[in-house]
């Protein structure tokens, strides 16, 4: 098998590690939840959770709704939640939305209030002690500094200067000093791996990823802050092919990554994903 299908073998290795991490999180934490944007990465995570627990995801799946997501995102979310029997929780900061927060006014404030704060509110209410997230090292320089398990304090802060040691696969334990743990089961995957996996497993894909009129979305965010890239890729195979040769970063269409130098670092240190 390894001789005839090196990609398949490689994906199996990635998958096993991710499944082991997800099972560790379930065993170690009392009240975990997974974050789901409906994008390719977090959909892959939900799928891995289904695999890890033999079909039924045993914890809630959170969607952070800023009210300005693409209509395709809501459609995809509701359809799949039903199909996969997910316990969907929507995190929404309605209070901030009423005050007219917008990227035009202040993008940093908008991301922090509508995403980070919305999540924080739900976490406080539901007392989740672990959040399973689909970030990957290859997405952004700051995310490459992450661990598989990454504790957050009561202010939600990521103390990147003093992260606990993560030796082998002995991930950090829950502690009273952490309000919650971020768990990153696909940290070691690349964008290309995710698409290869989507293809191999036949996972459903949000239609925004496929090219229409020479443009497609490579990373899904909020409508005002996400722009499509030039592409003619209309199938998963074409996306894989495009990525094998592309030199454009994945999050090139995401405004919060590059508005100012270190904006992503500052967003993340406050609890952004």
């Amino acid at each position: 098998m390894s001789v005839s299908d090196p990609v398949g073998t490689y994906l199996e290795e990635l998958e096993k590690k991710s499944i082991a991490i997800i099972r560790e999180a379930k065993a170690q934490f009392k009240n975990p939840a997974a974050l789901w944007s409906t994008g390719k990465d977090s959909t892959a995570i939900i799928w891995l959770c289904r695999k890890a627990f033999f079909g039924k995801v045993p914890f809630p799946v959170i969607h952070i709704d800023t009210g300005c997501k693409f209509p395709e995102i809501y459609e995809f979310r509701d359809r799949l939640a039903k199909e996969w029997g997910l316990n969907l929780m929507v995190a929404k900061n309605e209070e901030a939305m009423k005050t007219g927060v917008s990227p035009q006014r202040d993008r940093f404030e908008c991301c922090t209030l509508l995403k980070t704060q919305a999540l924080k509110n739900l976490l406080e209410k539901e007392k989740y002690d672990a959040l399973i997230l689909a970030i990957r090292r290859d997405e952004h320089g700051i995310r490459a500094k992450e661990r598989y398990y990454s504790p957050r304090d009561e202010d939600f802060k990521w103390n990147y200067e003093d992260q606990p040691a993560e030796m082998w696969d002995l991930y950090v334990k829950p502690s009273e000093d952490f309000t919650h743990m971020r768990v990153h089961p696909i940290l070691h995957w690349t964008e290309l791996n995710v698409w290869q996996y989507v293809k191999r497993e036949g996972l459903p894909v949000n239609p925004l990823y496929f090219a229409k009129n020479g443009k497609r979305y490579r990373s899904l965010g909020c409508q005002p802050c996400t722009v499509p890239i030039s592409s003619n890729a209309q199938t998963i195979d074409e996306i894989v092919k495009e990525l094998e040769t592309s030199k454009i970063p994945e999050r090139a269409g995401r405004a919060q990554d590059k508005e100012k130098a270190y904006m992503m670092q500052k967003l993340r240190s406050l609890g952004y994903m």
Binding site: K16, A27, Y160
Partner: protein
């Protein structure tokens, strides 16, 4: 074609050029997206910096770039003709040892960067010693900043000689050394015209020829760590991560230290059943007769079963801020088990920077110290010699906010009380 995967940790004293070397490797191998380069250039321009800094490709935190030092580890993939490497960049500063250890615990091999200009310094010795203590046996040395010493062979040879004096006693013998300038790119990815006296082998060639993927663990006796048990209406699935050996359906297995036994009825994966499971697999075991198997148990075959440890000795690396005393009770995490153990005796203490024995039977191991200690498990524990079963021969010592130290097991005195007689 399938490339084998190698995790490579880059170690060495601060400012000897670890991040610059990795930045150079990525740059020369065309692994950096154009937009990333533009971003780095713009950032440098703003800071009023004229030259391009390769380290900026790795050091992405604002504090790292402004301060010119790496604060936290970074994983970056990098491909050669032979291997798919993941390079782990580590901070060289002495305060960041636990981050360096985190990076090293994921590595199959290490690259030690030593500046030809500055020569061997504290963390050159300390990092080499710590990776060896963690069980990393593959090492390649890059003698950096050759451009700053006029590319002189004499300086290179002198640095090599002093390195051999410290590396050989650690057990690193016949280590390949490559003279490079990460800043100018000499002998990193392409052969240098400035050092004709060198044999021509670049750092990348040397890595490709010297570094090998770790040996497979599937030929060893079976060991698996129970992660959890999922109880369903009609059965119970014992979820287990296989560490060594092969698990097969139909065989009788032993769970240690409880001593329970059972016959594997099925190995479950989602939507399918497996005949066998191999190291790295996390699988669901269904036993002929359902039993309550708790997290932390070790699965093995009766003929080569995992035994309880009466005592064990280990090389301990303590992170800063903590100390360990004779008689202390600590929580040891090994595999999925967490057990209270008492420190019976601290046998030696080694100065990891000077590489000298500080004391024999010192009673206390100071923060940041390295030494050999003997432990007595106060609760039943299966732990193995690192040389026999690496994944079950390493552990962490728990603190309030994560591990405060780590250990590699040298010897185990096993309890002869057998598991319940196998069926």
């Amino acid at each position: 074609m399938s490339l084998s995967k190698i995790n490579l940790v880059v170690i060495g004293h601060k400012d000897h050029g670890k991040s610059t070397l990795i930045g150079r490797l990525l740059y020369d191998s065309d692994a950096i997206p154009e937009q990333k380069l533009q971003e780095v250039e713009a950032e440098l321009k703003k800071a009023g910096d004229a030259g391009f800094r390769f380290a900026f490709l790795l050091d992405t935190l604002e504090e790292e770039r402004r301060g010119g030092l790496t604060i936290d580890i970074m994983h970056t993939p990098f491909k050669t003709k032979k291997h798919l490497y993941t390079i782990i960049d580590c901070p060289g500063h002495r305060e960041f040892i636990k981050k360096m250890l985190t990076g090293a615990s994921q590595a199959d091999a290490a690259v030690l960067v030593v500046s030809a200009k500055e020569g061997i310094e504290d963390q050159t010795r300390q990092h080499a010693f710590l990776v060896k203590t963690l069980g990393i046996n593959q090492l390649v040395v890059a003698i950096n900043k050759m451009d700053q010493v006029g590319y002189q062979q004499g300086v290179f040879l002198k640095t090599c000689r002093s390195l051999d004096e410290i590396l050989a006693p650690m057990g690193f013998k016949d280590i390949a050394k490559v003279p490079i300038s990460a800043f100018n790119g000499d002998n990193v990815f392409t052969e240098s015209k400035n050092m004709k006296w060198h044999n021509g082998s670049t750092l990348v060639d040397t890595l490709d020829s010297m570094v090998k993927p770790l040996e497979s663990l599937s030929d060893k006796p079976l060991r698996g760590c129970v992660q959890d048990i999922y109880k369903q209406e009609d059965n119970a699935i014992v979820v287990c991560k296989i560490e060594t050996g092969m698990l097969e359906t139909g065989k009788t297995v032993c769970f240690s230290p409880s001593g329970k036994t059972g016959v594997i009825k099925a190995i479950e994966a989602f939507g399918t059943r497996l005949k066998k499971a191999k190291p790295g697999d996390s699988v669901g075991l269904v036993l002929e007769e359902a039993q309550d198997i708790p997290r932390g148990e070790v699965v093995s075959y009766p003929e080569s079963r995992a035994k309880r440890a009466r005592t064990f000795t280990a090389n301990i690396i303590l992170f800063s801020d903590v100390e360990m005393r004779n008689g202390d009770v600590c929580v040891v995490r090994c595999g999925t088990a967490e057990r209270k153990c008492r420190v019976e005796a601290i046998l030696t203490e080694i100065d990891p920077v000077k590489l000298t024995i500080r004391a024999t039977s010192p009673r206390v191991l100071m923060g940041g110290g390295v030494g050999e200690a003997k432990f007595l498990p106060l609760e039943p524990l299966c732990i193995e010699r690192h040389s026999d079963f690496p994944p079950l021969g390493r552990f962490v010592i728990e603190g309030k906010k994560g591990p405060v130290g780590t250990g590699i097991v040298l010897n185990v005195e096993q309890d002869e009380v057998p598991c319940a007689e196998a069926a």
